[in-house]
């Protein structure tokens, strides 16, 4: 087990290093001189040179990368071109709102998605299954930004029950977390159902039935436990996609989180912030995948031995 974790950890470090090369190369791929862009149109040659030094755009490409990597590892991402504040402070202020939103969305959508998926799997082919799966395929196809607008229209504009944006109280969380989680709930419901149906066709489920295990025991002990193994992986992947989805949903609800910071930075060409955010998002995603893989190995010994 330890060997497996170490092997996966080494792979993760390798992927993260490559991601850092991509993010490092990102600013250098830009057309024009990024230092001049950041310094602004009225900057003198000295200003531009100072910005260039600050952004680590001097010297050979290898020295630049070494400089970038050592700064990144020490948590120094430079200063925002827009506010002149350290990027770490900018991101720090926006981190918690996004994390909370993502966790709440993940929580309700996992519970709901699993419950609907299992219900559909148990009642396969009946009306409960058919209704749930029609809703699920619609949920997968529904644009989250439109769902957000529809919810705002109904609950904020017409009924006046909930705020349209911001993160002042718990009431602000309701609409964004519903919007963000809906797609994930739909994906998980579909995935859980198909995992459940696959497992229900296995020989050991038939054996359990044949030896007289009550139906409740067959479903909970034999079918569900095994069906959940691939579902765990799926939940981890969906968590990563939620981080991406939050970018769109935060725009709809004027949420003061990382997603909106990224969009603002892209519009403003605030490259230090864009770089740091892309690195942060992909690091989170890669680490979540690592945790999921380890969990998967815990529940499924076959993987460990490979």
């Amino acid at each position: 087990m330890l060997a497996f974790i170490l092997r996966r950890l080494a792979g993760t470090v390798l992927v993260l290093l490559t991601v850092s090369v991509f993010v490092f190369g990102f600013v250098r791929l830009l057309p024009g001189d990024p230092a001049r862009l950041v310094a602004g149109p009225d900057a003198t040659a000295e200003d531009v040179a100072a910005v260039r030094a600050e952004m680590g755009l001097e010297g050979s490409i290898w020295r630049q990368y070494a400089h970038y990597l050592s700064q990144t590892l020490r948590g120094d991402f430079g200063r925002s071109a827009k506010t002149r504040q350290p990027v770490v402070a900018e991101i720090g202020a926006r981190f918690m709102p996004t994390l909370w939103l993502t966790l709440i969305a993940m929580g309700w959508s996992t519970l709901f998605g699993l419950a609907v998926g299992v219900l559909s799997g148990v009642k396969r082919g009946r009306w409960q299954d058919q209704t749930a799966m029609v809703l699920a395929v619609s949920g997968v196809s529904f644009p989250s930004f439109w769902l957000g607008l529809l919810l705002i229209d109904l609950f904020s504009v017409r009924l006046g029950w909930l705020p349209t944006g911001g993160d002042e109280s718990w009431r602000s969380f309701v609409l964004p977390s519903i919007t963000l989680g809906a797609g994930v709930a739909a994906v998980l419901a579909r995935f859980t159902r198909s995992a459940f149906v696959d497992v229900a066709a296995e020989d050991y489920v038939r054996t359990a039935r044949a030896k007289g295990v009550p139906e409740r025991g067959v479903i909970w002990k034999h079918a569900l436990r095994n069906a959940l193994i691939p579902v765990v992986t799926m939940i981890g992947l969906e968590f990563g996609f939620l981080l991406g989805g939050s970018i769109v949903v935060e725009t709809v609800f004027a949420w003061p989180g990382l997603g909106r910071l990224l969009i603002d930075s892209v519009s403003f060409r605030d490259y230090p912030v864009i770089q740091a955010e892309i690195l942060l998002f992909s690091t989170e995603f890669v680490l979540i995948n690592l945790v999921v893989d380890v969990l998967y190995a815990v529940v499924n010994p076959e993987i460990r031995l490979r």
Binding site: T18, F26, S141, F145, W146, L150, V248, I278
Partner: protein
């Protein structure tokens, strides 16, 4: 056994068998017809759309749906129904072109990876891992941040994140196909690598690829609309569904037709591609039923 009984045994080709199973799935068939209608509407937009998509009509702003304007008009008095038809051109083109691009590159990399194995295989697969290390929309935003906003850059952005999906899929089927008797046989009579890949392996990977094509086109249309919604995709006055939704945000509760119709257009189109993809997958894979 009598002659007549033997005569009734029909052997269907795998393709015929697949087609027969697919035709039985009415929902998927309906989705396929819907996609055909959308594609035709996009192609013949200049003839079908009752109004021009970009010409303003300031005497007629924000009017609700009527017989003259089936889906009402927007802030500039432009006919929303016409803009949705023209917008279909944008969305469907982005969907088809980006996925075709990602699929072509992904298939090539996947088949080489699976066929060659060894170092090349590891290299290509690690590269795909890195691309998959970014949540899709984030990768698209990064590409747009480098190339600048605009719909053609969105196409490249989406192609980049569709590519690893196809590469992995095709690599998997290539590994399985490499061990089949017919490929082994072709090898043993001295068929060289390139014809072997083109004639014997690639056709075998197609069923899975076709399913993913349909599902990925739906995802791509959704992503492109999302990027336009946040202002990084299609730029005004281009009629794009996501951008139209974004324009209508300020008029929630005042003029809902501004957001309802473009939203519906995205939803129906993506739903059709997803249902078609589901139907194709079920017709190919009997295990799930």
């Amino acid at each position: 056994m009598s002659e007549a009984a033997i005569g009734t045994v029909r052997i269907r080709s795998p393709l015929g068998e697949f087609w027969r199973r697919f035709m039985r799935r009415r929902v998927a068939l309906f989705a396929g017809v819907a996609i055909l209608v959308l594609v035709l509407a996009a192609i013949f937009a200049p003839w079908i759309a009752p109004y021009d998509a970009t010409t303003p009509d300031y005497g007629n702003v924000l009017s609700g749906p009527s017989f003259a304007h089936l889906a009402g008009t927007d802030v500039f008095g432009r006919d929303i129904f016409s803009r949705i038809i023209w917008g279909g051109r944008v969305s469907l083109t982005v969907g088809f072109v980006s996925v075709a691009l990602g699929c072509a590159v992904g298939m090539a990399l996947g088949v080489v990876s699976g066929f060659a194995g060894g170092f090349l295989d590891s290299l290509i697969m690690r590269f795909c891992d890195v691309l998959l290390a970014f949540p899709g929309i984030l990768l698209a935003i990064a590409v747009v941040a480098v190339l600048g906003p605009g719909i053609s850059n969105v196409v490249y952005a989406i192609a980049v994140f569709s590519m690893p999906v196809f590469a992995r899929l095709v690599r998997g089927s290539t590994l399985a196909l490499k061990e089949t008797v017919y490929v082994q046989a072709a090898r043993s009579i001295g068929v060289r690598a390139l014809p072997l890949i083109v004639y014997h392996i690639l056709p075998g990977t197609l069923p899975g690829v076709i399913v993913y094509l349909s599902l990925r086109i739906g995802t791509s249309i959704l992503t492109a609309a999302a990027l336009s919604f946040i202002g990084l995709g299609a730029q005004p006055p281009s009629p794009e569904w996501g951008a139209m939704l974004s324009d209508g945000r300020s008029y929630l509760g005042v003029a809902d037709h501004l957001t309802v119709f473009p939203g519906l257009a995205i939803f129906v189109t993506v739903l059709a591609f997803n249902l078609l993809g589901d139907g194709l997958r079920d017709a190919l894979d009997q295990k799930l039923r």
